[in-house]
Amino acid sequence: MAEIVAAFGVPHAPAFPALVAREGPSCEVARLYAEIAKHVAAVAPDVLVVFDSDHFNTFFFDNLPTFLVGVTDATEGPNDQTPMPHYRVHGHAPLAGHLRGSGIARGFDLSLSQDFDVDHSIMVPLHFLTPHMKIPIVPIFINGLAPPLPGARRCYALGEMVRDAIRDWPERMRVAALASGSFSLEIGGPKIPHGERAGTPDQEWTRRVQHLLQHGKVNDLLEEATAVRMARAGNIGGELLNWIAMLGTIGERKPRFIEPQLDHGHSYGAWRWD
């Protein structure tokens, strides 16, 4: 009887909190995040399922999950020295356990964590969208950084599974999905600009993803978001998989709002049908 009532997608650059603190509410990042926050507030979900890629802060190569569900009553962060406030946020352990169990029953090989903190990729979005930290989260981690990455269709199917499992939840509950990540971003790799440590090497891909999202062309996105294509968009380009999993929870809908920052390699989107 629970249901997905909305979905959101945002970037999570660790510089954003300090940037907005410095430049104020009129800067572009502040404006775009405020737009998405307005939609989150309007929908007022009971729980946020967050699709996210950790950056080797929570999980490392000694035990690196492809997919992992965080089943906990509380987590905190950022754990990676991002210059921003430190927050504690509730998890929804019963729903998280239900999603993991449903996934395993349907052939998803989901890792489990009952004890973890999170990095900027969850805390930056929450800082802007739910700074009161009153909405419990169910974090679902997708390996978007360390190839081989899971395929786009597999991530979409993960989202579909989450949608179905939420429908099976016995209580009334309004759930929103949140995707955290970039479409084109290279950090520390050969595609960075001269004199920089990071860049967005593939504005064409950002534009294409934005276009496909805007028009609800999910199948085209799944077709085009191959491992090779995402890798060409930057070594962090696999964070698109979080958006793709989020789309799996809502299907071929068009967003009510979506706006890119093309030269930053990402978009801000809100899907609502209320």
Partner: protein, 95 residues
């Protein structure tokens, strides 16, 4: 897996302040206990991030080294060197 050891060194530089200070003050001594090949040790000490990248180290983690200019890796130096690395993605794209 000594690629693992290099990746871990980069991660530990972020998360372990004491280790980071050791890397800054005496890099050769700081990495001497680590399970590294001689080539890796040399590449680290000379800041040869292109070589480390080409041998499998993760660039997101290597880029941490520029935060504290470890192994002489200022951002301009890092950028210049990594941009010359052989990039497997270009080879994939050419196939």
């Amino acid at each position: 897996m000594s690629v693992y050891a290099v990746n871990k060194l980069c991660r530990d530089a972020l998360h372990d302040r004491t280790f980071r200070e050791a890397l800054r003050t005496d890099p050769a001594a700081a990495i001497s206990p680590l399970d590294l090949s001689e080539d890796e040790r040399k590449a680290l000490l000379t800041g040869d991030v292109a070589w480390l990248f080409e041998h499998g180290c993760h660039p997101f983690l290597l880029a941490y080294l520029t935060r504290w200019d470890l192994f002489g890796l200022t951002v301009p130096v890092y950028s210049e060197r990594i941009r010359k690395a052989r990039d497997p993605r270009d080879e994939q794209a050419a196939v």
